[in-house]
Subunit: 397 residues, 2 copies
C-alpha cells in the first residue's frame, strides 16, 4: 500500500548518478512562445526508480528526455500518479530559493501513498529539487533577471509493466523544471486593466470531490475529470471553475487554487478572511493557502497595516448563497485565490447559475489585502526578507 | 472538450500503416509465469495519433514496444486516460470472435470525451481490434486451443507535451493484446474447492464514486485511488472490494465487476435477480452486466431452465443491510459478479464491518444461475451458438 518497507532502500538524495547534457538549449525569454508552451523544460531532469523488491534506487540527474513507458504501465490505465507544483525563485540578492519545499515533500509523500505508490522520506524531495537547480539554475534563471522563477514539477507514477488492477510494483519519481508565464502579470487580449479572475461556479451535475474521496491529495485523478467543466468555463471567457459541493452549495476551491473572501460578518460586522476548512477533506491543503493564513493571522489580525484594517481569519464552511447575500448587502471587501500557478490573484466576479456576483470591494476594486499578502510572500521568495520559509539553493559556479 | 470537430480527420480504420515485427516472441502456455505477469503482450500493437489541429491520423500496426512519453504529458499528471477491457475468443469451430465490441467502442468514446480526450466514430474501434487480431490471432490463439482467449486493452491517453492544466491538444489511442489467466478456472493456494469470491465491503471513509462524479465512465481516475482499499482487502485474503455508497450503504459495484444477487423478495417471496441501477451514475455500465440482464430477461424470466426456477430481473438501489437481512432469513439463492476480467464468478461471502454474510444458497452452494448464464455466454463467445453478439475476426492465413 505504498508504505515504507523496512528491508528496502529508502529515498536518499545524498548520492546521485549525474549525466550532463551535451546539447544545452536556448533559455526562452519571458513571454516567448517557448515559455507560453508550458512544456519547454530545462536541460536536465531528476529520476528515481523504485521497485517493490529493492526500494528506491540511486537518484539520477540526466538530460531532459522522453520517458520510455510500457503500454501496460499502471499510470496509463489506472491513474497511479500524483504530483507537486512548486517554484524556484531568483532573488534580488542574486540567490536561488525554494519556498517551503518541506511542505511539498510531505504532501507528495501523502499523495503517493494515497495512490498506492511508494512512500519516502519527505525531506529528500527538496534535496532532489535543489540538485536539479544547482545544475540548471545558473543558466535558466540568470542572475540578471532577479524576480523571476521556474515552475518545478515533482511527479510520481506507476510505470512498471503490469496490466492487472493492483498496487504498482514499480514506480518512478521524476522532477522537471519549466519556464512558466507569470499569470499575475498577464492580461487577457483586449483587456486594459484586469481587476481579477472570473470564476464560474460548478453545477450539481459536476462535482470535483466528495467526503471519503481524494480531493485532499494531489492526485492526477482530481484533474483530468475536471477538465471538461474547466474547458467549458474557459470557452465562455472564465478563468477557472469555482467548485461547489452539496445541497447547500458549499464553496470548496477554485480548481488549481484555494479560494478566499474578505467580508464583514453578516451578524457582527467583524472583518473576516474566510476560506474553506481542511477537515471536510474536500479541498487541497495548499502550501500558499497555509502561508496566506499564517501571514494573515500573524500580521493582519491586530493592527492596521497601512490603510488595511485588521481582520480575523476564519476557516469554515461557506456557501455561495452567503457570498451572494454579502454582495447584495455590500459587505464584500475583497476576494482572491491562492496557489503555486496563480500565486495570489484577486477574484473580480463569480457566475452562479445565471447570476453574476461581484466580489470586488465597494469601489469596484480589490481592497489591497491580496496585494499586501502577495508582497510579503514575494519578499520572502525573492530574498528581500530573511525568513525560514525560504530554502536556499547553492548553485554550481 | 473532446467533441468531434467537423474540419479535422475522423478515426478511420479502413486504412493502416503496417510495420511487421521481425522478432516474433514465444507464445506463453496457459498458467505460465509469462501469462500470470499480465504484461506479456502479443507481437504487435495498434496506435492512432490525434491532434487538435488535424484530428485522427492513419492507424498504425507496429511491433509491440514502449511508448515514448514526454515528461510533461497530460496523462502522467492529470489522469487524462481511459480504457476498455475486452477479449478475443478462439471458438470451437476454429474461428476468432469478439463479444459485443460495439458496446466497448461506444463506451470508450464516452469515456474519452468525459476525460476531455477526443471523440471518434465508435464503430471504428472494433475494426482496429480486429486488424490486430487478424495479424496476431493465428499465432497467439492457436486453433488447437479452442476455448481460449486473449485480453484486449484499447486505451486513450493525453500524451502531448503540455504541462498546463487544460484540455489535451494531443492524444494517442492504442490497443494491446495480452494472454490473461482465466480467473474462473484458478484456485487459491491451499483451496480445494472455491465456492466463490470473498468480498470486503468498503467503509464510509473510502468511496469509489459519487453523484456528479465519473464512476459511470471507464476512466483511469476510478482505479488508482481505489487500489489502496483493494490492496488492504487482498492482504486480508479477500478478492475484491464491494463498494458501498451513502448513509444507507448502497451496494454499487465490486471494483472491477458488477454485483448481482438472487433472492426471494422480502415482501412477496418472488424470486429476483437484483443489481444496482445505472441511473445513479455510480457504477460502470458493464458489457457483461448488460448481457447478463438481457439473457436473464429473455431466458430465465418465464419458464424453468433445468432445475432453475424463473426469476424477475430488477435494477434498483439495494443496500448491504437488505443483503444481511436476506441472509439471516435464508432468502439468498445465489450471488455473483460479472465483468470482462472476472467474467461470471459466484460470490461466497461479504464481510461488512466485522460481520460475515454468506451469499451462497441454502445448501451452501451457488444455485446454478451464474453457471447457466456463463454457459450461455460462452456458447456465444466460442461459437457453439450463432448469435449477433459475436463479431467474427478474419485472420491472415
Amino acid at each position: 500500500m505504498g508504505s515504507i518497507a523496512t528491508n528496502v532502500a529508502e529515498l536518499d538524495a545524498s548520492k546521485f548518478n549525474i549525466t550532463r547534457s551535451t546539447n544545452l538549449r536556448d533559455v526562452p525569454l519571458p513571454g516567448s512562445p517557448e515559455e507560453l508552451s508550458h512544456s519547454y523544460c530545462t536541460d536536465h531532469m531528476v529520476t528515481v526508480r523504485w521497485t517493490v523488491n529493492n526500494g528506491w534506487e540511486t537518484p539520477e540527474v540526466k538530460p531532459y528526455q522522453n520517458l520510455s513507458v510500457p503500454p501496460t504501465a499502471s499510470c496509463l490505465h489506472y491513474a497511479t500518479e500524483c504530483f507537486e507544483g512548486m517554484k524556484v525563485y531568483r532573488g534580488y540578492d542574486g540567490k536561488l530559493r525554494l519556498f517551503r519545499p518541506d511542505l511539498n515533500g510531505q504532501r507528495l509523500n501523502t499523495s503517493s501513498q494515497r495512490s498506492s505508490l511508494p512512500g519516502f522520506k519527505a525531506d529528500e524531495v527538496k534535496k532532489l529539487v535543489a540538485k536539479l537547480m544547482e545544475i540548471d539554475g545558473p543558466r535558466w534563471l540568470p542572475r540578471d533577471r532577479p524576480g523571476s522563477f521556474l515552475y518545478i514539477r515533482p511527479t510520481v507514477i506507476g510505470n512498471g509493466p503490469h496490466l492487472g488492477v493492483q498496487v504498482p510494483k514499480e514506480a518512478l519519481l521524476f522532477i522537471i523544471a519549466v519556464p512558466w508565464p507569470d499569470f499575475t502579470k498577464m492580461k487577457k487580449e483586449g483587456e486594459t486593466v484586469s481587476k481579477g479572475l472570473k470564476l464560474f461556479a460548478s453545477s450539481p451535475d459536476s462535482i470535483r470531490a466528495w467526503p471519503g474521496g481524494f480531493g485532499w491529495a494531489k492526485l492526477g485523478a482530481n484533474y483530468g475529470p475536471s477538465l471538461q467543466s474547466h474547458g467549458k468555463a474557459q470557452a465562455m471567457g472564465f478563468d477557472q471553475i469555482l467548485w461547489l459541493f452539496g445541497e447547500d452549495r458549499q464553496v470548496t476551491e477554485a480548481g488549481a487554487s484555494n479560494f478566499f473572501i474578505i467580508w464583514h460578518n453578516a451578524d457582527t460586522g467583524r472583518l473576516e478572511l474566510v476560506t474553506a476548512p481542511l477537515e471536510s477533506q474536500l479541498i487541497l491543503p495548499g502550501v500558499t493557502r497555509r502561508s496566506v493564513l499564517e501571514l494573515a493571522r500573524e500580521r493582519l489580525s491586530e493592527n492596521f497595516v497601512g490603510k488595511l484594517a485588521p481582520l480575523q481569519v476564519v476557516e469554515r464552511t461557506l456557501t455561495i448563497s452567503e457570498i451572494e447575500k454579502a454582495a447584495q448587502e455590500g459587505r464584500i471587501v475583497e476576494s482572491f485565490v491562492s496557489g503555486t500557478a496563480y500565486f495570489i490573484t484577486p477574484v473580480a466576479m463569480i457566475r452562479n447559475n445565471d447570476q453574476d456576483i461581484s466580489t470586488l470591494g465597494k469601489d469596484g476594486e480589490p481592497a489591497g489585502y491580496a496585494a499586501q499578502i502577495k508582497s510579503w510572500l514575494e519578499a520572502i521568495m525573492y530574498g528581500k526578507e530573511e525568513h525560514d520559509w525560504a530554502y536556499p539553493v547553492e548553485e554550481e559556479q
